[in-house]
């Protein structure tokens, strides 16, 4: 199937524009985060909510619907408006991001995740979408900058160092398993980005709660640890089975493509390790003394491994998974 050069060029433009828009949104969010009353309000609200829960002697954290962003109209400050603009920009960015993916797929007449460039593009897309979903449910919009930062970095690396021209994939990749296995891996990894960031914020916030001098400049604008903890748990619990499914499908595919379902290929190994780490995260939440900070640390390790798997294993080590498509 020939490559449609025009569509591929449009895809590249969309990609570049997406990165630019994200950078702009990132700046907006930073302004909101630094100067916004909203951030402080949100922090205040969640602190009160946390007190209520403790007051009720609640043995289990339960959810009550977060009050709609209750800022009195006359107090909608400039920073708040800038934050909303940031959000609008992010949504615009996501749409362009999506079109970059779709155009790539149309240009090559296959799923647009056949090399590392495309893979990074898809993973970051899922990451942003997940964040948008979370930001609708929890009062965390002013933290969007912290999520966009790794997204922009990943996309920058993807667009410069890993860029590959649109091309078909080699015979071993031409299978419907490619669609199933790789999309599960992408969704899993992309969603894992959000708990990874939320856990880092959680660690900063709880360090600050223990010792107010730490991260004093902005930790009190991070919502209470409990909200971050819930975001982390929710997203991890969603991503974990998807990731598990991806690994299982990978094994089934490997059986028919490479002659064995598991061969401790570097990529398989690191995926296994990351899987075990996320399982440990889920366990740690049910183990006394491991909840909270330790769980957050485990989650951060899990995400670090996911990124490591993407970059190190594809670029440095040589395994059957070396389909990076970079020179």
């Amino acid at each position: 199937m020939p490559i449609n050069e025009t569509l591929s060029r449009f895809s590249d433009w969309s990609y570049t524009t997406t990165v630019a828009i994200y950078v702009l949104a990132l700046l907006f969010f930073l302004i909101e985060q630094s100067f916004g009353v909203k951030g402080r309000n949100a922090a205040q609200r969640t602190r009160e909510r946390a007190k209520e829960l403790v007051g009720a002697g609640a043995p289990v954290v339960t959810e009550s619907t977060v009050p709609p962003t209750a800022v009195t109209p006359d107090r909608v400050g400039r920073a708040e408006r800038i934050g909303r603009m940031g959000m609008a920009l992010t949504v615009l960015g996501v749409l362009l991001h999506l079109s970059a993916l779709v155009l790539r797929g149309l240009a090559t007449s296959r799923v647009p995740w056949g090399n590392m460039y495309e893979y990074v593009m898809a993973v970051t897309f899922i990451g942003v979408v997940t964040w948008l979903v979370m930001a609708r449910r929890f009062p965390v919009r002013h933290l969007s900058g912290f999520v966009l930062l790794p997204i922009v970095i990943l996309m920058f690396i993807g667009g410069t160092m890993l860029y590959a021209v649109a091309a078909p994939v080699q015979p071993a990749l031409q299978s419907y398993w490619m669609v199933i296995h790789v999309s599960a891996a992408i969704i899993g990894s992309g969603v894992f980005l959000v708990p990874g960031v939320a856990s880092v914020l959680y660690l900063m916030r709880s360090a600050h709660e223990k010792n107010p001098k730490k991260f004093a400049r902005f930790a009190d604008r991070i919502p209470a640890a409990d909200i971050l903890d819930r975001i982390t748990y929710r997203t991890t619990v969603f991503a974990f089975p998807v990731f598990t499914f991806g690994v299982l499908c990978g094994a089934i595919w490997a059986e028919s493509a490479w002659g064995r379902f598991w061969g401790w290929d570097p990529k398989e190994t690191v995926a296994f390790v990351a899987w075990v780490v996320y399982a440990a995260y889920l366990h740690s939440r049910a183990t006394a003394g491991w909840r909270g900070q330790r769980a957050a640390i485990i989650n951060v390790i899990g995400f670090a491994l996911t990124v490591f798997n993407l970059f190190f294993v594809n670029l440095v080590s040589v395994g059957l998974h070396s389909y990076a498509g970079v020179g």
Binding site: A56, G57, A58, P59, V60, V61, T62, E63, S64, T65, A167, P168, Q170, P171, A172, Q174, S175, W177, R230, Y233, R234, V237, F240, P241, T244, F245, L248, A251, I252, E255, S256, A257, W258, G259, R260, F261, W262, G263, W264, D265, P266, K267, T269, V270, F272, V273, V276, V277, A280, H283, S284, R285, A286, T287, G289, W290, V313, S317, V318, G319
Partner: protein, 538 residues
């Protein structure tokens, strides 16, 4: 979450416990420690830590040449790592030890949990707490309906919940309901599935084998799975000695590849014929279309198309008029262009005296290009497809060393014979298809065709079906365990008599999610509002 009960402190005895008691106590404590969730966590971490070097260091089982290179390059450090089994992580003592401990720990935690599970499946929902307003979810209304009506409505609304109605003092009645037992089921299925998977994975390492073989793609040379010697390389499991391989034969009739204009392969396929079981006696052959990603599955084995390559065909015509034709596989040295190298070796026909024979052996070595491209006189290949084949050959004459008893690579001549002067270069030339060269003694060598070969892999793993089954069970269990919410709900109805003698009922609903899954709030609110409303008769 499980609640661990601390066993009652045993009474202090004035005398020292006997040795047996102490040993039993020690064993019990070890067992408890090993099967606690915290230990499982630590073991999980250790396992992931132990698995990592396998991704960072070259592994002998995957790439032994690279491993040796690494050891050589790192001096004593490499040697030490080697001695500590870091180049065979997944079969190392320490990795196996962690693996085994984790399994013991898993069994140890699964056994009591299963018992607990059976018990909780039979048990009735717990008593209604005295003070429902202390529950995380609480709702209280007064309605103008009788307690019976409210309770009936509650029973209808709570269909699918496990529930029990209880009578309390002063005409107060309550329902305790619980739902989401499937969570615990899922959790157990998940962990048992994992146990089964790991056990069968380990068994597979004992009884599996894997062999690679190159077969000419012209139907001339059937391959039979009759023993290890039939393979070019063979990797048996620990309990496989190669004597009882599944019997089958196959031959490869052709091979075809499709490429993009840039020379990237798009598709490989090969038609083969095979026989197993009864066919081996009757001699019948069955056809199969072999492709990458689509192995042939027969007789408990799988046959994969791994790679392909070319075998240049040479005809040697000796001065006495006798001739010999051979097409031996050459191996690709460039995976992009399939520039290949090899050595096609000839004995002079009709020469029986071994002394004479050893003076007149011939070897045609050099490069083969499927699509020739010449830089001056240097042959390279510009495309992996057979478009304009050519060879650049050195012809060597003399003693190939094949009688020395030492095994020889089919892709090379024995370099020591060249160094000794027993094998001498007598010609060097580039040949296109159909061209020939003439040696000093009048021998003619003609490059008169190209055959193709395929590299096949035969894999045997009797346990992989079980592994798949357990993996699926594990996944299903995981879904149940993560999606299902275990939650409790209580309804208490208290009849009240107001001043105007109307019968009214206070309905109190309390709720508690037993897992740290969010999202019970909405469901609770819906139920808590619906029950009193449905109970009203207006």
């Amino acid at each position: 979450m499980t609640v661990t009960e601390t066993p009652a402190e045993p009474e202090k005895k004035p005398y020292r416990p006997s040795a047996v008691t102490r040993i039993l106590g020690f064993a019990r404590n070890t067992w408890r420690g090993l099967t606690s969730m915290r230990t499982a966590l630590v073991l999980l971490f250790l396992l992931s830590l132990a698995a990592l070097p396998g991704a960072l260091l070259p592994q002998r089982a995957l790439n032994s040449a690279k491993t040796d290179e690494y050891i050589a390059a790192h001096g004593w450090w490499g040697e030490l790592l080697d001695r500590l089994q870091f180049f065979g992580v997944y079969s190392s003592v320490w990795f196996s030890a962690i693996y085994l401990l984790l399994m013991v720990s898993l069994v140890g935690c699964l056994a009591p949990r299963s018992v607990e599970y059976v018990r909780s499946m039979r048990a009735q929902p717990v008593l209604t707490p005295r003070n429902l307003s202390r529950m995380p979810h609480h709702h209280r209304v007064e309605v103008s309906a009788s307690p019976e009506d409210v309770l009936a409505a509650a029973h209808t609304r709570l269909k699918g919940w496990r529930k029990v109605e209880r009578e309390e003092a002063n005409g107060v009645r309550s329902i305790s309901a619980e739902r989401g037992y499937l969570r615990e089921t899922g959790n157990l299925v998940f962990h048992f599935g994992m146990l089964g998977l790991v056990v069968f994975f380990a068994l597979g390492k004992l009884f599996s084998y894997e062999g690679q073989v190159i077969v000419q793609a012209n139907g001339s040379q059937p391959f039979c799975n009759s023993g290890i010697y039939a393979y070019d390389s063979f990797h048996p499991g620990l309990r496989v000695d190669g004597t009882k391989l599944s019997p089958f034969c196959l031959k490869v009739n052709d091979f075809a590849a499709r490429y993009t204009p840039a020379g990237q392969p798009e598709h490989y396929e090969s038609s083969i014929e095979y026989q197993t079981g009864e066919d081996l006696n009757t001699g019948a052959w069955r056809p199969y279309h072999l492709e990458v990603n689509d192995p042939l599955r027969i007789a408990g084995d799988r046959i994969y198309l791994l790679n392909h390559g070319f075998a240049p065909k040479f005809t040697v015509t000796f001065p006495d008029g006798t001739s010999r034709t051979q097409a031996i596989q050459w191996r690709p040295v460039d995976v992009q262009t399939y520039l290949s190298e090899g050595a096609t070796k000839f004995d002079r026909p009709g020469v029986t005296d071994s002394e004479q024979r050893r003076k007149q052996q011939l070897a045609i070595t050099g490069l083969f290009a499927p699509t020739a491209f010449l830089h001056g006189n240097v042959l390279t290949s510009s495309f992996p497809e057979l478009r304009n084949p050519a060879v650049a050959v050195d012809v060597l004459r003399g003693d190939l060393g094949t009688d020395s008893g030492r095994g020889q690579s089919i892709f090379e001549v024995d370099q020591s014979q060249v160094d000794k002067g027993a094998l001498k270069k007598v010609a060097r030339q580039n040949l296109e298809l159909g061209q020939e060269l003439t040696l000093d003694d009048g021998t003619k060598i003609k490059f008169d065709g190209v055959e193709q070969w395929v590299a096949l892999q035969v894999s045997h793993d009797p346990t992989q079906g079980f592994v798949l089954g357990f993996a699926i069970a594990m996944f299903a269990g995981l879904i149940g365990s993560l999606l299902v919410k275990r939650r409790r709900l209580w309804v208490r109805v208290t009849p009240v008599t107001t001043g105007d003698d109307l019968r009214r009922t206070v309905v109190e609903v309390g709720g508690l999610a037993r897992t740290d899954q969010a999202g019970y709030g909405e469901e609770f609110n819906r139920i808590a509002v619906e029950i009193p409303r449905a109970g009203r008769k207006d």
